[in-house]
Symmetry: C2
Subunit: 152 residues, 2 copies
């Protein structure tokens, strides 16, 4: 399975401390899932990219959204395990623009996946990406029984 | 007011990408509150430090804890404003050890402040510190009407 950490908007940033940490977490998932990162200028560009993705199974789209459902790290790992069991080849977690997702994007996510809330707080764009990268890695460690989740 | 971002346990780390980002957020609070960071080897050391702090008002202790109450970023800013209005001089936000707080620490927090949950997910120690640093900065921008909170 490929997991894409996607984002829409946000300032273009070359290499900064956030990018280093995000890359590191995504790299550490190897052996469980492959991960990459994609940035889109607009929500429309993201949705078109998702709808044109060819593969044996269509991508599962998870939009990070305050209206989404909150999950514990263990519940996210179980959710991921269920997608693996279904034979899904591609899951896309997407961090939205500063003004949030449109109704159309939310509808698309409900059709292709779900809406996920990181909690009640609002996070900076790069921080939301980093949190999601760590949660993807944490889910991988939960699925493989690595002790990271219970305190390294 | 002084805000201390405290932590208990975690591996000793020199300067890493997390530390750089945390320092940067704490520095940016200047003009609203002063911030510093403290690390304690044990929960006991933290609680003794808090109880020996002298000042016109005793420190308000907020322990980050999954059993705590979840707050939006705006609610956290309002909470901070209320402490400023009460003339509190020192607020301590503390990230706990990997195995969580003891009942004694939770009791102490309820007496001196409260328990705060960042949401339902489990975060790495350094990531929890970074999230809290960003939320402190975000609260400062909400209190001063800086546009950061509504998308930079």
């Amino acid at each position: 399975m490929l997991i894409t950490l996607a984002c829409v908007g946000g300032k273009p940033r070359p290499k900064d401390a956030f990018e280093d940490l995000i890359s590191e977490y995504l790299k550490r998932c190897v052996g469980v899932v492959r991960c990459d990162a994609e940035a889109f200028r607009t929500e429309k560009a993201l949705l078109e990219w998702v709808s044109h993705k060819q593969g044996r199974t269509p991508p599962v789209l998870m939009l990070l959204d305050e209206r989404g459902r909150q999950m514990t790290s263990a519940a996210l790992a179980e959710w991921l395990r269920a997608r693996l069991d279904e034979g899904k080849q591609h899951v896309v977690f997407a961090v939205g623009p500063a003004d949030g997702w449109s109704d159309r994007a939310r509808e698309e996510a409900r059709r292709r996946g779900s809406l996920l809330a990181l909690g009640p707080m609002t996070f900076a764009h790069q921080l939301a990406r980093l949190i999601m990268a760590e949660q993807i890695y944490r889910a991988c460690t939960i699925l493989t029984g690595h002790p990271y989740h219970i305190g390294h």
